[in-house]
Symmetry: D2
Subunit: 460 residues, 4 copies
């Protein structure tokens, strides 16, 4: 997954991009990069492995002069080539400097890339984003708009893109609108970014959200809505709302926090926990859902788990650690809250199922009499080919186990998943506009060829 | 402030110390150190600036062999000499290897040190803990117990100490018991540490808490309660319960979480917020108090602020940041929760008052109609000479401003502080047993001489 | 300047490349890189800023599996983009993995690049080497030999190239043969590299030197001499023999050490120092010439200057340093050798002239009675466009000063430069086969366009 | 071994110390430290593992304010405790700040330390220098001179000391004068340091050398020669002249370069190499001796080996390296010089004998017809207890092998060592004034007790 931001017409563009990436850190913690472009089209960049606040220093930011900047933060795979694969992509092409940041994944990258290579293109990375760059550079057109439009006509899949051609900024969302993209203004400057929380932190006000198929050009402070891409049925990624985005963001026209409250309320209706003493969240991603559950069920909300703030990158796990030690390192249970209680614990989703059993054990050790596990989404059964790093189905516990088997594995007294219908109806908008393939198996596009799929499934 | 841990009679002593320090990280983030001692009395150590999980690596931990280990994590001052001042102190003296970890501060250090220096002692650091080490080494006695007892007879102030003499461990708490010290067992091993949360994480069960004046020796798995220090009226640090300790810990014979709930309940009684729509906490330290406030007032608890997990060490603040930007970097307000609401925000304490105005601004920008600030402790008016890094009174907003002036400064609609009486009665135990000098000015000991005070106030 | 190496058909290819780069370190100290290719065409690489021995660790080398490896060490410009410009270039193209290491500079890069960009090529770096890679990838041919041959037909300038297409290695030297390239064998393995000293260190025996225009393909252990490039008059870079290459190397069919001895002998004939007490070298590059001078003149050779081995990267120069301090940091004068003596000091060349005055001062301070400066090459008057980082003519002292003016500037008693004729006749081979443009202004190719020249002159 | 420097009464004291340590780098490459003291007696320091130029940065030096500074560079043992053992020692004692830098080793440290510990002293390191600090601090006297004098009366062994008490500097050399100490002046400033080369680099002129037993106090620019220590027969370390010091230094009243020339001349007389074609040095430590050999024998001096400048700290040796590979990494043989020749190779000493066989092999591979090995000192048979890191006798090849056996082991055609008598008569002064225990076994002091000896022999 990735977080992206573009800033233009602002004297402090790189600094705003930095702040914005910091607010988008939850979308990718492996690498971060910013490319700034000055009035001569000269790009300056810095990229590095790690958190935004570790990658950049005052000196490095100060060197990124220019009133246009594009930033990217990425969850990526391990290995020597990772920095090579970090974004934004930054090249020279016939119209000048081209900088591109991409959130999403193409499903026909293998085919397009094969053709490009046949025609003499060289690839420095394995990113599908580089494919888009080649298609733009090879366009017979002279105008960036036409070049980008032509390029996107050849690819299929999920893409929210921010592209700088010298200091001109373009923002596009694929016609199905898998990933969010928000447009904001700060003084004379314009900001495009994945979530509204990145607008908030730079003091920008939300101008609008880019609808599926939107194509926007920003020259100076002038924003032009270009002709949209050929329309398709929208399939907004429901997992953005369920888990990925920040609760203080607004995306897809609704509040993430409110959506999650509704998940919790509906979960309480579908799987009540009659007689429970309290409801606790697995902090922080499940907080809103747990509050909603509490509200709908009348069972009081408690802070029974505290998230540890100091988990460093090199935490050394003890050799003879029990199955609850890794959980203990992440969360602290509050014994006074749990002692002797029948506890409802609300989590946003269960993917591999590796953490949850330790969590249940920890709660019981802290005195919980009963543990009722509630999941604010349906069982996760499929991989995502549109940009989320879901593991291979073989690693998804729900792809091969019944709910009862999972309950036993977790060691919970009861287990309840929200239904697919319940999930999509948590939306304040049209419940039909979502992609929920990872829960339902209903993929809205053709899938990548077998070989290319392999890449998705082994290199999340 | 500091967190300390001692482990003995355990094959994995340094690893347990590491895990324990990790759980005590909130007590000091500037430096961390572990000294392990093997069966030959040979010490091996590693110390470094930064978080526990950054200071230690697998290789470094593996090199710390020996079944006894003492660890320390410290909030310390900046500058070149910091690593020199890091603990545990580790020297050779006549009985062999001496390792000492100290939580607290002596108030007569200047006088004792002056005398020691006069007698030919050399000091490598400015830590009062080194003074104790000299006193032990210079004792005419041959037995560590007598040496330690004699040394402590000469010092005045706050000290919870863990001392290893070769592989024998000693644990002492000053007669007033300012700082906590817990004793636990894991298999045949014994663990002594600042808070019970560090016992939990290593899988140890609580054996007992060391009462004020307790003096314990641990040889192998044998725990001997030595004669206590000459008794004094106990003055447990109330700020440990109000703010410093972890809510999942038990110290001073009570649950930190429950104490804070009571603070919140009493705060609601003393300063109700009639007509408010919701209660929110400044996460995470005020969560329990806010829940207590909600419970007692009937105003619903909401998660209106989310703490950011990714604040790195080198975060670069924007040049033209408004007074709310630093707050935005730390907290994210959830607009949906706050929009149009009359909000009660509960904080544990106001020290300098530098963060709170930005917080109020941020809440208003996120839509809060009214902001009612409630503080779960009395106004902070005095420095601490017993180990907490309170700034000089001149920097304490409440030392020179009335509550109404502070309210105006914060920009809050109303402001209410808990009373001193309300605070100490939040305890499940004797409300008379606390030191609350920073709130009341009632210091239980003579104060350091003027020169020495200077050290406290400029170099906390 | 750069040092390059290719190894194939050897189980330890990356390690041999590492050793070879270490021996070529004098050819470039700014960055180093190795790309290894395994039997599946999978490349693995590591690049970094700094010395070979700092860039690589055991772990990093061990990860570079594959029996083919290409290495590069580079003297490069400062700034954020440097790592981006480091070599070897490593891309995927239609025939698979393409790895290229280049020593030299193209003079028509600007024109060719402009055309490529027009056709849709994207450039990730400002290196002319990337231009060659594009030309290869865009070739209509299917065979690497034809692709490379076609690419080189379009470029003009200096290039010694090592190219891997999957595990097949190609080595080419431009038709004028500016830069050296040696071929060696070690067991079943084949090594191609800039200087014979890199063969020595890996235990390879010299198979042959690649003549101007040579084009070689290595498949496994099979070496095929392909048709040479269209012939041109050879112009071997004389500065490689005068200064750049290592004295224990053989290049251009002769011994570097012997060539330099001859320089010294001829210098003694042209500019004798009758009555001098001793001859000293500016170590280590002038050692051979000074020995030759001593031999021809009969003036005894002495070690009057010792080179300091510990000059680190971050050496901090004193604020009030005199003009001899920087020299003192690099060299130590031996007072006993110099005291009261008339000293001949032999240097290989004077480029900017910034070091030499301090050297003369230092020798006089160490007691030298007379200092006779002798330079084993003619005055340096022109920039190099073929790969050597000569500064802009405005910075070359001899481009604007007479020999007498330079003598006064140095503060030497006498100053003598070797003649152009004397220099080229130091060769054991044909004295007509050299490029000596930096000494004579006689450039063997068209020069880069004015804009492109700018790049050479400001970013050496 | 160590290099030490003290500077006082100079506004740039720490910078001069830095430059001086850089010039003394050959005396210790493992750690470096500088302590500066300002007019209030406030010390500021920086120490680190590694080379002087790596340990210090501009920022770190700039922070070392104060017109007095003491520096130390150390060859030390590996392991976690190394930084702890780095110098200068820097403590507070009754007279204020005490900073001490020590070159040499005490032989009765174990006994004195035992007594100190018995009296209540605590030791933070295993350095004998800390013992001296304790003795000074515990002196009943109030005056630093008397304190130091009293302390030194209790220790036996080798010590050249630089001590700062606040801004007052003391310099002492033990009565036997094992290690050198030079006094110089730069403007109003005074510099004391191990070798004259450190005076040269800071632009100081030599004032005098401290004779055995000298005791000097420097207050501001005033230098006072205090009463010397009780006299003993001088035993200057001959190995300082043979190998350790820099050839451009003057120590013990003579030129290191001239001493080594004489070694070479006498070696040529004792072990001529009739019929040899050339003499080469093992650079750089044997250069002077080889020139002397050439001069006396009439065999021409050649530069047949070139020392590699780029050996980094983490050089990775190839897995299947032959016995000459390590030598190849350090030296490059010049084939043209060696081809077909009968070569005399002059080395300063043979200690373990591990490098020499590879050297002989390398020379033969480079074409040498005959290799005549000449050593400019006698066989090394004993450990040093006075500050040089000679290995345990079991590792000294000459302690258990005859010269003929060593010759065979080296693979040389002939081997000749200089005689003890020849070595000491190379001196321009009294040949009786040397310690040559490592060559002769004649130790001038009682030796350390067996246990303490162990420390010398395993942890040099």
């Amino acid at each position: 997954m990735c977080g992206i931001i573009g800033v233009t017409n602002h004297p402090d563009a790189a600094r705003l991009a930095y702040l914005g990436l910091y607010a988008l850190q939850h979308r990718g913690q492996e690498s971060a990069g910013i490319v700034a472009v000055d009035g001569h089209g000269q790009p300056r960049f810095h990229k590095g492995m790690g958190l935004v606040s570790d990658v950049f220093t005052e000196d490095r930011l100060a060197a990124l002069t220019g009133s246009t900047a594009v930033g990217h933060t990425r969850y990526s795979t391990a290995g020597a080539s990772t920095l090579l694969n970090s974004q934004p992509v930054n090249v020279r092409y016939k119209n000048g400097t081209l900088v591109l940041a991409h959130n999403g994944n193409l499903v026909n990258d293998a085919e397009v890339r094969r053709e490009l290579v046949h025609e003499g293109a060289i690839f420095a990375s394995t990113m599908d984003s580089e494919t888009i760059v080649h298609l733009i550079a090879r366009s017979p057109h002279d105008d960036p708009e036409a070049q980008i439009r032509g390029a996107l006509a050849q690819v299929e899949g999920a893409y929210s893109l921010i592209i700088a051609v010298d200091q001109e900024l373009y923002a596009v969302v694929d016609a199905r609108g898998f990933r969010p993209l928000m447009l904001g203004k700060v003084g004379d400057g314009v900001v495009v970014t994945s979530e509204s929380c990145a607008l908030d932190i730079v003091g920008a006000r939300i101008a609008c959200e880019l609808e599926p198929g939107s194509f926007v050009r920003i020259r100076g402070s002038e924003i032009t809505y270009l002709d949209p891409l050929p329309p398709k049925a929208p399939t907004r990624c429901v997992f953005e709302l369920v888990y990925f985005s920040r609760p203080d963001s607004q995306i897809f026209g609704e509040s993430v926090d409110q959506f999650r409250r509704n998940l919790g309320r509906r979960l309480a209706e579908e799987h009540p926990a009659t007689g429970a003493d309290c409801v606790i969240a697995v902090p922080d991603s499940s907080n809103s859902a747990a509050l909603g559950f509490s509200e709908a069920s009348g069972v009081p909300f408690e802070l029974g788990l505290i998230r540890n703030h100091y988990v460093g990158r090199t935490f050394i796990h003890p050799v003879q650690a029990g199955r609850d030690t890794k959980v203990k390192i992440k969360y602290n249970p509050v014994r006074e809250v749990l002692q002797g209680k029948s506890v409802v614990v609300v989590d946003d989703s269960i993917v591999r199922g590796t953490t949850s059993p330790g969590l249940v054990t920890m709660l019981r050790q802290a005195g919980a009499r009963e543990v009722h596990f509630r999941v604010a989404s349906p069982p996760t059964i499929g991989s995502c080919y549109y940009g989320i790093d879901t593991p291979h189905p073989a690693e998804l516990i729900a792809s091969s186990h019944t709910v009862e088997e999972i309950r036993q594995y977790l060691g919970a007294d009861t287990l309840g998943y929200l239904s697919l219908d319940g999930m999509v109806h948590a939306s304040a908008g049209d419940p039909q506009r979502f992609c929920h393939a990872c829960f339902s198996g209903a993929y809205p596009t053709a899938l990548p060829s077998e070989t290319a799929k392999h890449r998705f499934e082994t290199q999340p």
